[in-house]
Each structure stands twice: as structure tokens, then as C-alpha cells.
Symmetry: C2
Subunit: 257 residues, 2 copies
């Protein structure tokens, strides 16, 4: 836990074509932490559209940001455009060097990987990109929420809600997280058991894989290029298949710096 | 189901001080329905802030809206300001008269109630406002998602995700909903069992109830005033306590008009 009298500066990276609930799920939780401020940071002050068209406006630009205590990096198809964006990657690196916690959701992990921050780290991401983690030197862990030191990784999309509740508990204690969970009536009842590649009906899995094929291929090519830049040997990586992650030990306790 | 070749016009009411995930949860699901358009409608074209400060921009104004097939009404503290807003209530009534489906999330149900649309309807809303449903002539059903004819009601906040998946299945079939669920990796793992008044630790429940006391009292006063306008006798209602809803029969099948 962080001392309750320390004000927490929390920020999300906002970018064009993000998947909005990668951001809005965690926002729902973390904007309710006591004694904290939550702001969204964009490359410019202009609103962005999420990949299905929702318009979200930043509170400030990257250049305006002071050091954050918690940096949240969401994902979504627009992540690809940031993978070699020196300004964004430099900003993430700089924030990571001073933050007490980094929080990646979905393919936000790939952006953090491109920033060179995942080497040797246990991590997770969306199931369709899970096999790409080793290109960034990460150790893939097939769990919904993975905690590694001061990093919290949530897997795909809606996993950001679970990750944010976990992070809320780490930062401000279990009672705070429980009160937020009760407020937001988070007692989910999915109408189908189709939320993971392991449980979804095979034809559904094949269909969703096919629909993600173009972006997945593009992400693979980008990941290989970045692995070369980061000096990560990709021979062993290339034989690592999708969804063959290690099921890690239960996540370790979180000790903020 | 709606014929697959019928294009669906889906819209959300956007307003100041809504609870953003009441909107963004359903958006994540319903914006992925095949052959559909999803737009956000505000009283004006200006962006609004959700009750914790997230800035969302409308796609159009209420006046610009053609007849929608699906109208989604989110909730949040800002709902109070709409309860006697003739423009908004009239717009909802007009849309409801031609929509094939109405979808209320959280205290969005109170707005629909104020529009006079809940008389005799089985409905649900956020647990802290559940006892107010009878003031609008509704039959409270203590379930996370309630389907009544062409209406779908989701209970508090994150229940909108479950309600939207249910609605997606009703509109476009189970396979479509399952594919969306897999894409969005919706296999929730809440870190605590604190998402309902029944399961939350008592001190947490008391704390959250206390923190909602001011808005709940205000909502009660508004509900009584509106009950009088709607001609609903409130004697029996006043003795109906919070969270003493009827557990209804399993939700009925949904037959769009």
C-alpha cells in the first residue's frame, strides 16, 4: 500500500484507435481511489476516436505531464502506430522510471515492450497477441492478471477491470477496492462461457481468429522488427505458439517503490 | 432476432455526470454488432464529463436523431438533472415508440421511469435505487439483467456489459454475442466477492450506502414528485424497503416488434 496521505497522480495514455474499454474499465475503478487525480494524456489536445468510433478527449498532452505515480497503458489496434513512435515510447520510459506502478491492459503490453520495458518480466496481454510477448523479452504468463514487482498486467480488454481492482487493493487496501466493486456492482454474470480461447466454441474461436488475422500478422512483423532492435534472439521465440504460455505461480505480492 | 440484412441504428443518450461505464460497457459490445451503426446523442454537440471527469463527445444532438432501432439509456448521478427535463423525456418517449428495443442500464431506468415508460414493467436498476422503481409504476426484479418484452434492463453500472451481451444475442443471435465476448476476453475474475449488497462485507456496504446517502435521498424526493405527476399511489410504495425486490421468473424470451 501507498501511504493514504500521499496524493496519487494517475494517468492513462490516450491514442487514436485504442480499444476504449481498455481505458474506461480501469478509469471506472481507479478514478475512485481516495486522494488521487486521474488524467488522460494524448499526443495532442485533440479528442481521439476509439477503434469503433467512441470519441474521448484528453485532459492534457504528453508534454504537459508531470511525473505520474501510476501510468496506465491501454491497447487496441491503434497500438501498432505507436510501436516505433519515439515520442510516445520515450514518454513511457521516462514515466516508468519514476512511477510507483505501471499498469498495462491488453495490447498495451506490446507498446510497453516496444519501449524496452518488458525484458525479463512476467507479463500477459490479449490472447491473440500472447505469443508475441517473447519478442520483447517478456515471460508470458497465461493468467488474467499478472503482477510482477511494480508492474500489473491485465490480459485482454475487459481484464482491465479485474486488473484495476487488484491494483486498487495494492495501492489503497482491500477495503477500498471492495467498496469500489460494490459501488460499480461488479458481480458479473456473462450469459455465455465464451470469454477465453479455452472455453469458446471452436467455430467461434476460428471466426474471431480469422477476423484478427490481418492485425495479428502485422503485429508479428512489427514484433520481429522490434526484437531485432532490442537485441532479442528470435529463433526460440518463433517456435513459441499462440496461447502456449506458462501458467505461472500465483502472482507475487506487490511492493511499490 | 432481427433479420441480418436489416441495418440497426443504435444510439445512447449522453449527458453530463453520467457514469461513463454505463455507456462504455454496452458500447464495447453493441458497437460490434454486424450491420449496425452506433451513435451517441447529447442535448448539445458539446463534450460532456462523466461524474469522475472522463470527457466523452456526442456524435449528434437529440434534435438530429432519426428513429433509432435500439435506444440505450445509461445512468449515473447526472440522471437527476434529466428527471424533469421535458426535451429529454419527450425524446426518449418518441424513440421508445418506434424502437424495436429499449436498453436501460443502472439509474437510466429512473430516467425512463420519469418518461412514464415503466408502468407495469418488470425492471431493475442499481441496488441503491432499487426501492425507487415502484414510484414509477415498475415491478422491481432483483436480477442482474431483466428482459420484459422489448425492454432490457441491466442493474448497476457494470451489469451493462452482461445486459449488452444478452441484448446482442437477442438481436443478432448467440454466435454473434459469443464472438464479441471472446474478442473482449470477457471471462471475469473479480478479486473480491464484494459486488452485491448480499455478498459485500457489512462494513463495506454501510460505507457505500453512507456515501450514496445524499444522492439517494435526492432521488427519493424526485421519485415521489414524479409518482404524483404520473398518478401512482405511493402509500404502498413508501413501505417497500431497499433491496427487497421480487426475484422474478427467469427472463422471458425477447420478441422484437
Amino acid at each position: 500500500m501507498i501511504p493514504h496521505d500521499k496524493h496519487l497522480q494517475i494517468g492513462s495514455l490516450l491514442f487514436e484507435d485504442l480499444d476504449q474499454i481498455d481505458l474506461t474499465g480501469p478509469f471506472e475503478v481507479l478514478s475512485r481511489l481516495p486522494n488521487s487525480t486521474y488524467r488522460l494524456y494524448g499526443k495532442t489536445a485533440a479528442p481521439v476516436r476509439d477503434l469503433k468510433g467512441l470519441r474521448l478527449a484528453p485532459d492534457a498532452t504528453l508534454a504537459d505531464a508531470h511525473q505520474l505515480d501510476v501510468l496506465h497503458v491501454p491497447g487496441g489496434f491503434g497500438q501498432e502506430a505507436l510501436m516505433e513512435d519515439a515520442e510516445v515510447l520515450g514518454w513511457i520510459r521516462q514515466q516508468a522510471s519514476g512511477a510507483c506502478c505501471m499498469f498495462s491492459v491488453c495490447t498495451g503490453a506490446l507498446i510497453c515492450g516496444a519501449a524496452g520495458l518488458l525484458k525479463g518480466r512476467r507479463a500477459t496481454t490479449h490472447w491473440a497477441s500472447f505469443h508475441l510477448l517473447p519478442y520483447f523479452g517478456a515471460i508470458p504468463v497465461n493468467e488474467r492478471v499478472v503482477v510482477d514487482g511494480t508492474w500489473v498486467f491485465a490480459a485482454g480488454v475487459t481484464a482491465g477491470i479485474d486488473g484495476a481492482l487488484r491494483l486498487a487493493a495494492e495501492l489503497r487496501g482491500d477495503e477500498v477496492a471492495q467498496a469500489i466493486q460494490l459501488y460499480m456492482a461488479y458481480a458479473p454474470e456473462p450469459p455465455f462461457d465464451s470469454g477465453t480461447p479455452e472455453t469458446a466454441p471452436s467455430p467461434i474461436l476460428e471466426q474471431v481468429r480469422r477476423s484478427a488475422q490481418t492485425i495479428t500478422t502485422q503485429r508479428e512483423q512489427t514484433a520481429r522488427r522490434i526484437a531485432a532492435k532490442l537485441g532479442i534472439a528470435t529463433d526460440a521465440v518463433d517456435s513459441f505458439g499462440e496461447n502456449r504460455g506458462f501458467v505461472g505461480e500465483p502472482a507475487k505480492s506487490f511492493i511499490p517503490r
